[in-house]
Amino acid sequence: MKAHLTRQAPVAWGLVLATILLGWFGRDLAKALDARWLVKVPSSWDIPFNTYISAAMAWLMEEAAVGPVSFTDATRAIAWLIEQPYELALNLLARGFLFDPGPEPQVLLPAASWIAVTAAVIALGHYCRSWGLAALVGACFAYLAVFGQWDSAMITLASVLIAVPIGAGGGLLAGIWAYRHPLGERILSPILDLMQTIPIFAYLVPILFMFGFGPVSALVATIIYATPPMIRITIMALKAVDPEILDFGRMAGTTRRQLMWRVLVPSASQSLMVGVNQVIMLTLNMVIIASMIGAGGLGFDVLAALRRLDIGAGFEAGIAIVVLAIAVDRLSQAFAERMGQVHHTTPGSWAARNKRTVLVLCLLAVTWVLGRFSPLLLDYPQSQTITTGAFWNDTVKYLNVNYFDAFEAVKVFFLQWFLLPIKKTLLGIPWPWAIAMLTLLGWRAGGWKLAALCGAMSALIAVSGLWAKAMVTVYLCGASVILATLIGVPLGVLAALNRRAGIAINLLIDTLQTLPSFVYLIPVVMLFRVGDFTAMIAIVLYALAPAVRYAAHGVRSVSSELIEAGLVSGCTKWQLLRLVRLPMALPEILLGINQTIMLALSMLVITALVGTRDLGQEVYIALTKADTGRGLVAGLAIAFIAIIADRLINAGARGARIRFGLES
């Protein structure tokens, strides 16, 4: 074994070195050999996947039909179905019920008053758990009113109210289906992989075609984006139900349906709620992107702020999204918990039993009636809103005016010594060599199956004509991940070893993670202007969290016996870290880096909004040109990169765990 390893190490290092050298001199080499095809895949080799996909899409939209019902009819019918409850929620919360049709739309009933809505969530909080929760959600909604975010927040809330139940319910059903049919899981699993790795922008276009322009398309996109974790968690949770419980259910003579709905699902409810929480978080994450195709609300405000480079407005709307997320999440958790328990109904009339409902309905009616005389009861007075916008704007302006040269120096330093060398190397690697190396790596890490996967996926990227853009993607993503790792892992280790630092770091990470990713873009663009460096900073900020979290967790969960063994053998603190803690935490750290890569890739697409030249940009262009094929091909290329990275790192992490005897 030892001899084997030592013989292999030089070969591996040799190959790495060869790759770097090839990359650095690749262009000159290709020029010297007059073989430009080495660094640029000849365009005559391209397989026009995008035209195929676009043609298929056109056929689907214009010709596909089952009997008299065309595909478009079907999708439009679905759109209509989703639209009805959405309109209702929107009318109630934001728009008011208008008397349509007519050139003079009359407001039949204005939207529910902010007082009534806040009272309703407070009542719900109290009903679900306690006064504590009631106070929390009440404060959240009051924040929305006081900071002038109310109207947008209600539009967003309306779409959340529709998207979350559909996403969670649909995910649950799909998960159950996959649980029941082993084949189902095998079909779903790659689809979910793709759904989670293809950037959302890539499928916005087909959705627009199918469901029309407007909020419904945005809702559908949101649902598609938010559902996969629910499906995965459902499958996992059902499988994790104690087999004895399953046996019990069957011995009690349950039918299949009873077994599922009365035994398995309730037993798995805690894990399922984690899925619901994910759906809520992703839905709120998606609101900004959804606003690009017609969902309004807070997401649109952030997007508009980004377009205007108005950092104050962006921050306020971004924080409002976070606040809304907290309120919806806590309420749903408490609600599910309460549903899981039985409660003895107190006797009495309906009104006596439902005091809270009665109270809220009364309040609603009263504010509606009195609102005719005093608009204060309906709309939070604008003169009373607080804004911190000016503060943020001034801060950034101050920094810009006074520290421009410092920022510029940092930027130039990073560009010259970090980003550009990586870019040059990656773009210079001859693509046949790169494919060969990836295949070899796959084979070393996970056998021939992984080798085939890596080889096939990278070759597909090459023949789809996106090689150069894919390399820019790898470069931006790689540079950001390296930086995120260099910052994140030490932070994680520090957080694990020092309690006080841990609290501070956790706070930082939580904030970074819950703020919608778009919000970072604004100050970064303002300070560093457009370009790769800016994109990198935004990506690092967004993708830092898992690197920190996993590292902290890995270091914390090194068994205490090992630590004691180290101490007894006289390790210093530093040696303990270097020789025991870090090596044992390596698999965990690797998984963290894996997550960081996934987040970096998803952020990359968003940075296309501030101008990058990678696959993300390609997807974004396709979105704006409504070019289904182009977007999906570029989206798939990103998904392929993600999948290759994911599989390689997972295989590596497993190898490491096996080496440390943590897994066999």
């Binding site: 002038g148 539009i155 969902a295 508009a304 205007r308 809103t385 980003l419 457009v530 101008g611 979105l623």
Partner: protein
């Protein structure tokens, strides 16, 4: 606040203001106007919308993308796009009108220029300007750390199109195209460079406040011709297309082909509607430079030009 949001909100909110009108016999369905991502278009569209509302129509604003909106215009999901620039949207417009599902509702009265633009101080560093040939020799004057040794050209958001990558290749300019993600980012670049007299060449368009606020010129590329874009053999470079400048011309209005039948009166108003470059530049300047709310800019225009637009309605 609520009113603003309703109008701004992309969730297709109906603005519930109106006056009685002769057109009430026509369909009460809302006419859907598209909003894009630059101030001029927002102002232009909001003015059109306000006039239509004054004439008694229901109006909805829908956030849609500049090029992607044609898909919606074809299906009738969207009804009216107020700014299709000859310079960047002509191909998409032609393609859409050829399908018969979209019609060109005439020009807006504004003429569009979109071209590479540089501040006057760059002329000292690159004396041959504004002729494009000069860029060939002094590309390094425009270089930054990120693009060195190539020059840096700040393009518009990718969604605006413009074929600048192709142009750079066809004209063999040693430039790298860096896209600003947004309108605001584009002019933030200009502002920042201008203040410190840093080298810059970037995408500027007119009607816009920038050409009047900053001293500078458009680069003079070989004149545009349709062949230059479509036929590689035409133009300076015999092997590649796009070896010329960008087209200049009117800003068009594009409408769903069903609009004239469904709202004939509205269609007449739409055709009548026009503004001048100067008016528009002034309004955009007000919004972008003075920070006046777009709805206020629109409302001001509406009250100042009541005679003008009532004339369009009564025709």
């Amino acid at each position: 606040m609520r009113q603003n949001l309703r109008i701004l909100g992309a969730a297709a909110l109906t603005a519930a203001l109106s006056a009685s009108s002769a057109w009430s016999a026509e369909s009460a369905d809302p006419i859907k106007l598209t909003l894009h991502d630059w101030s001029g278009q927002l102002i232009n569209t909001k003015i059109m919308g306000s006039i239509l509302q004054e004439a008694g129509y229901n109006v909805e604003y829908v956030q849609a993308d500049y090029i992607a909106q044609f898909a919606g215009l074809k299906t009738g999901d969207l009804h009216l796009a107020m700014e299709i620039w000859e310079t960047t949207g002509r191909e998409a417009l032609d393609e859409a009108t050829a399908s018969g599902k979209v019609i060109n509702a005439g020009d807006t009265g504004m003429t569009a220029i979109e071209e590479w633009w540089y501040p006057a101080y760059m002329k000292d560093r690159c004396p041959g300007l504004p002729d494009w040939q000069a860029l060939k020799d002094c590309s390094e004057e425009f270089a930054t750390a990120e693009t060195s040794p190539y020059g840096r050209y700040v393009g518009g958001p990718v969604t605006w199109g413009g074929f600048d990558e192709e142009r750079v290749e066809a004209l063999e300019l040693d430039f790298e195209v860096v896209h600003a993600g947004t309108d605001a980012a584009l002019f933030a670049e200009l502002e920042s460079a201008y203040q410190r007299q840093d080298p810059i060449v970037l995408w500027v368009y007119a009607p816009h406040w920038a050409p009047s606020k900053y001293e500078g010129e458009f680069v003079e590329f070989p004149l545009y011709s349709p062949e230059c874009y479509s036929d590689p053999s035409a133009g300076v470079n015999p092997d590649l297309a796009y070896d010329c400048g960008k087209p200049r011309g009117p800003i068009w209005k594009a409408a769903w082909a069903g609009l004239p039948d469904k709202w004939p009166g509205a269609y007449q108003i739409i055709q009548e509607y026009n503004l001048s470059n100067e008016e528009m530049s002034a309004m955009v300047g007000k919004a972008d430079l003075e920070g006046v709310d777009i709805d206020t800019v629109v409302a001001d225009w509406m009250s100042e030009n009541k005679d003008l637009w009532s004339g369009w309605i009564s025709h």
